[in-house]
């Protein structure tokens, strides 16, 4: 199925570049946008994340998969500054990120969404979108008092927000409270709102969770669209069909470590991955197991 798709030039370039990479954990990429080294996070006695090396290729769609509790979301939190690692160094676009506060990452071009959708339900859809824009003059209270200062910028932001809403087929919900949206629409809104920050790296935490199959198709299209516009996408997902369908590269985590990397086709054939997901006893019957 994935084989007969035609790829945009950007996507093709990313796939060609990734094709040269080694199929091993911590593989070097020709042009990494995100690099992590020795990132380790412990919660008491449990090591949630222990990643020796990770690189994400610029302009690609990279999937981060793994069984529950593999540390995917924790790694996300660490990379975006929402959590602090015990040790480790990581950089984004060549810039060291250890000392950067979580709210500064968006300004640098790295934006994330959340596993449990965080739509601001008591704000209207359009206000949710406007909130995403960075560097707003009216967000300083002394400017906020004088609408003349920020009105022009606000109009431009609104225009951009409306275009994005149209693209995500939420245009008709513009003035509704975000709380009135369905679960899937909220996922779309959160993604659209993240795009308002004008990111270069979009990190999506389980974009497909709770989304119906029809909407999944269009979400896939949106994610591909992001790459074709030159953004890099890193996403956590459990839905293997989606991973196979949309990603250029897959990184597999289990028990906090990266256990495999490769193209989606490599990964689906990798015995270590099958073990991690299904347990090493799969294929054998219980009778055999007991004997």
């Amino acid at each position: 199925m994935a084989a007969d798709r035609t790829y945009s030039p950007v996507a093709q370039a990313a796939r060609v570049a990734l094709d040269t990479c080694a199929r091993e954990p911590g593989a070097k990429k020709p042009d990494p946008i995100l690099v992590g080294d020795g990132v380790r996070r412990q919660f008491g006695g449990i090591v949630a994340v222990d990643v020796d090396h990770i690189e994400v290729q610029r302009g690609s769609i990279t999937a981060l998969i793994g069984p529950n509790g593999a540390g995917k979301t924790t790694l996300f939190n660490l990379l975006t500054g929402f959590d602090k690692p015990n040790t480790g160094a990581w950089s984004f676009d060549g810039r060291s990120m250890e000392k950067v506060a979580s709210h500064r990452t968006a300004a640098l071009g790295m934006v994330r969404t959340f596993q449990l959708t965080k739509s601001l339900t008591k704000l209207s859809v359009i206000e949710n979108m406007r909130l995403g824009a960075t560097d707003q003059k009216g967000e300083k209270w002394w400017n906020g008092l004088f609408s003349a200062i920020w009105k022009g910028q606000e109009d431009a932001i609104t225009k951009r927000a409306e275009d994005l809403l149209e693209r995500f087929k939420l245009g008709h919900m513009r003035d509704e409270y975000a709380g009135a949206l369905s679960g899937g629409q909220r996922k779309l809104l959160e993604m659209a709102r993240a795009l308002m920050t004008d990111p270069t790296l979009v990190m999506l935490d389980e974009p497909m969770a709770g989304v119906n199959p029809a909407l999944k198709q269009s979400l896939n299209e949106h994610i591909r669209g992001l790459r074709d516009e030159g953004m890099t996408v890193l996403f956590v997902e459990h839905d293997m069909d989606m991973v196979h369908d949309v990603s250029d590269w897959v990184i597999v985590m289990a028990e906090g470590r990266i256990i495999a990397e490769g193209t989606p086709d490599d990964i689906s054939r990798n015995p270590a991955v099958i073990d991690a997901y299904l347990g090493s006893h799969q294929g054998r019957s219980l009778m055999e197991e007991n004997s």
């Binding site: 975006t80 500064r104 300004a107 909130l131 209270w141 906020g144 709102r193 920050t197």
Partner: protein
């Protein structure tokens, strides 16, 4: 039963000085609680900052009365920083604990014998408000004269404070209204919903919360000043916990996250309070006897009044949780 008197007093309560200083303090609390979702239970502490800022000019610093205004504001900014720095990174309930404790610490410190030279101890500070009264006189409002028409008859003294107070309510109300319509207000409302989402979009949540806490506190300080000027006295026990909670009550009654709610709520609160108080007092003058049980004594008026106010609020919360002006729809979604 003298209904004219009851009605007159109730209507006066509606726009009286109590409603004014409650309204200003509620506008401030609304910035914190209504828009930014910060539970500040120490508004009385901020009000004390303003009152003591004015009072200390005469009592301790011996400088012009007018310096009291920047001084009070300075006090409350410092108090806001003191409360906010350790707690605004934590969950909302910690702020509630710290604010209620700080306000009590302030009250206990200013009423202590040890610091009597600075704050006047439990007697507080008197006779500092003359310069303020003089401005009223120079504008032709004689302190002792009566002004107005039924039912709104006030002495010149009351009238002058009321005029200044209501002008402040209007200005501050407009100030907050404009701010909440701006992108700054949008960030605040978003923080009330979900801090992490706002942080992921590149806003410095901590800084915004600090701004909201201090802004609401400074507005509370102005309320404390108006109150002190009306009494021409600063009394430490006027700034105890219950003041904060009555203001919060009045705000919820009007409707949170609405400027109109924060102004009309206190008016209704005091209108209702004065009505009940006057009504019950008249009932107690001619008590009903059932055998040898007296149903109502004049000493019970205050207690019964607070019981009834409490009951009204419970009923309000059950049947109209958004308050009088609140937005039902804004209250309806709470599926997080």
């Amino acid at each position: 039963m003298d209904w004219t008197l009851i009605i007159e007093n109730s209507l006066k309560g509606l726009i009286g000085i109590n409603a004014v200083y409650f309204a200003i303090a509620a506008i401030g609390m609304n910035v914190q609680f209504g828009y930014a979702g910060l539970l500040n239970f120490g508004q009385a502490g901020f009000m004390a900052c303003g009152a003591y800022g004015l009072g200390m000019t005469a009592h301790y610093f011996d400088i012009s009365f007018w310096w009291g205004i920047p001084l009070g504001i300075l006090f409350s900014v410092l108090l806001g920083l003191l409360m906010g720095v350790p707690t605004l990174r934590l969950r909302a309930d910690y702020l509630a604990i710290v604010t209620i404790a700080s306000a009590e610490i302030i009250r206990l410190v200013v009423r202590s014998v040890k610091f009597k030279t600075y704050f006047g101890g439990s007697d507080g500070i008197n006779s500092f408000a003359q310069p303020f009264r003089k401005v009223g006189n120079s504008l032709g409002i004689e302190e002792a004269d009566e002004y107005g028409f039924w039912p709104f008859r006030f002495t010149g003294r009351e009238l002058w404070t009321l005029i200044v107070g209501w002008i402040l309510v209007a200005l501050l109300g407009f100030f907050v209204y404009k701010l909440m319509k701006s992108p700054w207000g949008r960030v605040l409302k978003a923080i009330r919903e979900d801090e992490d989402a706002v942080r992921s979009l590149g806003k410095n949540v901590y800084s915004y919360k600090m701004q909201a806490l201090i802004m609401g506190g400074v507005i509370g300080t102005i309320s404390g000043m108006v109150f002190a000027l009306d009494r021409a006295a600063v009394q430490p026990d006027n700034y105890s916990r219950d003041v904060t909670f009555y203001i919060l009550t009045a705000l919820v009654l009007g409707g949170v996250a609405k400027v109109s709610g924060s102004i009309v709520g206190p008016m209704m609160f005091w209108g209702l309070f004065t009505f009940m108080d006057n009504f019950l007092r008249q009932v107690a003058e001619d008590p009903i006897h059932l055998g040898n049980i007296t149903l109502m004594k004049s000493t019970q008026v205050g207690q019964l009044n607070y019981i009834l106010i409490g009951l009204t609020l419970i009923l309000l919360m059950v049947y109209r949780p958004q308050g009088v002006f609140g937005n039902r729809q804004e209250m309806a979604f709470d599926g997080r």
